[in-house]
């Protein structure tokens, strides 16, 4: 595996290896994924793209299923 690169999660810089999913990067940054209807912080549950709990805003696009998305250099991820 290569050296990796960094992305930002809620403004925090995180270094990830190539091939890392965005949901995994968010967990390693200790940041929640989405906020529920009542404002509870939620994190990844199913890890395979069906539960939608790992939704986040990625490079400005809302409601991305982060467990199905692979990190790219300088990606900006935000809880949302």
């Amino acid at each position: 595996m290569s050296e990796g690169f960094s992305i930002t999660v809620n403004g925090k810089r995180v270094r990830v290896a190539e091939g890392t999913s965005v949901a995994a990067a968010m967990m390693m940054a200790n940041e929640p994924c989405r906020l529920s209807a009542q404002g509870e912080a939620r994190g990844a549950l199913c890890g395979m793209g069906i539960c939608m709990e790992c939704g986040a805003t990625v490079n400005g696009v809302a409601h991305q299923r982060t467990c199905q998305l692979i990190c790219t250099p300088e990606m900006a991820v935000a809880t949302g």
Binding site: T20, A25, G47, M48, E53
Partner: protein, 429 residues
């Protein structure tokens, strides 16, 4: 725009890959649609050529991938099926782009998901499915030194525990809700299936430092911002365990959305198929977990049967029947062994969220007569996951049968949904 193939396969896990490879080798034009980032499904997730040999079953993956590629199958990776705009066509979407794809034969290999049950604290970050955590680790999550409690039901708990331990996680304990008596009986019936038994033994070996307790289940998870402590019980005594992650899934349930949309008959929670894997919907075959939770070997055999059948090679398909029957019996035994205990119905309290998408609490659902009323009055199952998580829970908690699937099967962009079906002009049925 639309494109047509002799055979379209949905799902690039073992069942789908085997079906596609066999049909292509028999000379059919085959396309495989898969919603994940790479082929392999869940069991082969993260199996790249360089690393596959390190994973269990990795070599098998490489073998099937080679056959699949050699056969010249078109692989539409990242494409999600949204709808069936006309008979013989599927509407699919990737990155907001919609297309219609025509098929002569359709093989569904959409696999299974974990069954999740609500308990206090199950919505805390750090509480995940067992397969969910495994998938995240395969996706680069670093488990080094993390304290993990596994709970729920099924062989997956042991497989995940062994896998996590081998990459540096600390397994606090494994809590299987099924009683030992049922598992022991299950073990005996497995004597004829040495491969499976060896697999089980390997899990035990790798996890021998962790407690594997049967007749035990999770009662609640607690923590401020994320899970910090889990309470488990054996029905008499409760214990509290400190942990970083709780991996909790209650066996598996098939992903029936697409079979339902296409009108396949469902019996006792699985798609009813004949010996050639054909469902009640003409031209639609179903393989793997859709017809019974039986794992890798069953998916490969059923996939090959459906692939041969789609290519009109019935003799080759029928040669696999004895294997198929043995593996289907295994799947039935697994369902019985890991049947859910009634105590699990009482875990959720009045305020416990059952539908995570819409934050619907248990108390709001208790008075409802069924799914329809729950949807209309509480929005349960109406959120982004479309009931994929709470549906299986509500079926167990309240006995509500899932209703049919309505398109879109997956959240899609308005432009894809609104596109005119170009299918009817090209359809020749």
């Amino acid at each position: 725009m639309s494109t047509s193939f002799d055979v379209v396969v949905v799902g690039a896990g073992p069942g789908g890959m085997a079906a596609a490879a066999v049909a292509a080798e028999a000379g059919r034009r085959v396309c495989v649609l898969d919603g994940n980032a790479a082929p392999g499904g869940q069991i082969w997730r993260g199996s790249r050529a360089e690393t596959a040999r390190k994973y269990p079953h990795g070599r098998e993956f490489l073998n099937w991938r080679a056959r699949f590629e050699h056969g010249g199958c078109a692989l539409w990776q990242g494409w999600q099926v949204i709808d069936r705009p006309a008979p013989g066509f599927l509407r699919v979407e990737c990155d907001g782009e919609g297309r219609d794809i025509g098929f002569g034969k359709l093989i569904l290999a959409t696999g299974a998901r974990e069954r999740f049950l609500p308990f206090p604290g199950w919505t805390l970050p750090g509480v995940m499915g067992a397969g969910g955590l495994q998938a995240l680790v395969k996706g680069g999550l670093d488990p080094q030194g993390k304290r993990v409690v596994l709970a729920g039901s099924g062989l997956l708990l042991l497989a995940v525990a062994a896998g996590l331990q081998s990459v540096g996680a600390r397994i606090v304990g494994i809590y299987e809700q099924a009683p030992l008596s049922r598992l022991a009986g299950f073990g005996l019936t497995l004597l004829g299936q040495l491969g499976k038994l060896a697999e089980g033994a390997r899990y035990r070996l790798k996890t021998r430092h962790a407690a594997y307790r049967t007749n035990s289940w999770v009662v609640q998870a607690e923590g401020r911002d994320r899970v910090e402590q889990v309470t488990v019980t054996d029905g008499h005594k409760q214990s509290k365990l400190d942990c970083d992650w709780l991996a909790c899934g209650f066996h598996l349930v098939p992903n029936l959305e697409l079979p339902r949309l296409l009108g396949c008959r469902i019996v006792k929670g699985y798609v009813a198929v004949d010996r050639l894997q054909q469902s009640s919907a003409p031209g639609v075959a179903c393989v793997g977990e859709l017809t019974g939770i039986g794992g890798l070997e069953k998916a490969l055999v059923e996939g090959q049967i459906a692939g041969w059948a789609a290519a009109g090679r019935e003799a080759e398909a029928r040669a696999l029947t004895p294997k198929r029957q043995r593996l289907q019996r295994f799947a039935l035994r697994m369902d019985r062994a890991f049947a859910l205990r009634p105590e699990l119905r009482t875990l959720a309290r009045a305020e416990t969220v059952v539908c995570r998408c819409e934050d619907v609490a248990q108390s709001a659902l208790e008075g409802c007569a069924g799914w329809r009323e729950a949807r209309l009055h509480t929005r349960c199952g109406m959120g982004a996951c479309q009931g994929r998580v709470c549906g299986a829970a509500a079926e167990f908690l309240f006995g509500w049968e899932s209703s049919g699937t309505r398109p879109p099967v997956f959240p899609a962009t308005v432009s894809t949904l609104a596109a005119e079906a170009d299918a009817p002009q090209t359809a020749r049925r």
